[in-house]
């Protein structure tokens, strides 16, 4: 940053995005020709590209590292890779004999567990219902008197039915009553 120059000026709005690509060499031949034609006429855009050329290469420069660093880097990476391979091989060795039956075994176990869970769940639901009925407060429960009362109501409701039945039935013999009355009178 030794050579300080005037602050960056904005480029023409229509060209700014293309100028960035032009700087990086990422535009096609036709675009490049259009931009270059514009740059000849427009000092602002020309300066914009120059400024990008000054600023961007200075962004986060790469650290200069000695060959010893890369040698050590490579050795370390290879050691880590070997360690990772060893770890994987250990797992593979452990799992290898089980490969044939591991999936069906796990499948069966999963089904068994599911069945047990379902059975237990069902039982729990049943006990929950029982427990719920035992925990109903006494006030809510119908006592025997109330039950009798409701039963009598049932009878009242069915009275009309009984009356209807009675109306169908033949009248009881009044002669018998009369006979009794007559007998009492005689006595």
């Amino acid at each position: 940053m030794k050579n300080r120059v005037a602050p960056l000026e904005g480029a023409c709005k229509d060209y700014e995005e293309d100028l960035v690509l032009y700087y990086y060499g990422d535009c096609g031949a036709a675009e490049r020709a259009t931009i270059e034609k514009h740059l000849v006429q427009c000092l602002r855009c020309g300066k914009f590209v120059d400024d990008l050329g000054r600023v961007l290469p200075q962004m986060a420069p790469k650290p200069e590292l000695p060959q010893a660093f890369w040698d050590s880097y490579f050795r370390e990476t290879m050691a880590k890779l070997e360690e990772q391979t060893e770890r994987q091989s250990w797992w593979r060795r452990w799992l290898a004999p089980m490969n044939g039956w591991l999936v069906p075994a796990f499948g069966t176990a999963a089904v068994a567990v599911l069945a047990i869970v379902l059975v237990l769940e069902k039982r729990e639901v049943a006990t929950t219902i029982d427990a719920a009925s035992s925990t109903i407060p006494a006030e809510v429960l119908v006592d025997s008197n109330q039950l009798e009362f409701f039963k009598s109501l049932d009878i009242l409701e069915s009275l009309s039915t009984l009356e209807a039945q009675d109306s169908v039935k033949p009248e009881p013999k009044t002669s018998l009553i009369d006979d009794r009355r007559g007998a009492r009178a005689l006595a």
Partner: protein, 191 residues
Amino acid sequence: MKSAQELGDEELVALCQQGQGHYFEVLVRRYMEKAFHIAYDFTRNKETAKDLSQDAFLRAYANIKRFDGRSSFYTWFYRIVVNLCLDHARRSGKVLWESLDKTTEEPGGQRQLVDTQYQPDEEAMAGEATRRANATLESMPNKQRTAFLLRNQQGLPIADIAKVMKTTEGTVRVYLHRAVAALRQSLVEFV
């Protein structure tokens, strides 16, 4: 018969996929500097960059069988490196100032920006400019920063950046322009 070093990336990958894992060391040699520098651009810390880039090799090797050749090996591998760097940044929630201060103390670091016969005020200006540039980079959305770092620092073509970022070239151009515009804005008084 070609030597291992002469083989192309895809040939080496194919050999690794066939169980000849030792060919992977050629890929490590080929890409270790690039991987390290990408990680360094993201983290500005030598040790973290080393760990992250080495981790990228471990992941690439562990997943080598999943590489289907639809993209080139290096775009696939760059994606792994970039994702690890972004994950690391997310996890650490790191502010770049700290690592930058450390970097400026290292010989061959930020002082390369100025003349060897630098003057204190120029050094301070350079330090401030770099700090501001890196703070701007740090505050950018990840996608803008990634596009900028891959283009500006790694020199990847837009088409390859699009593959690494799994997006379109048009989108990468927009990210790149926005990143450059933000940097230009932040450095306007230092140029």
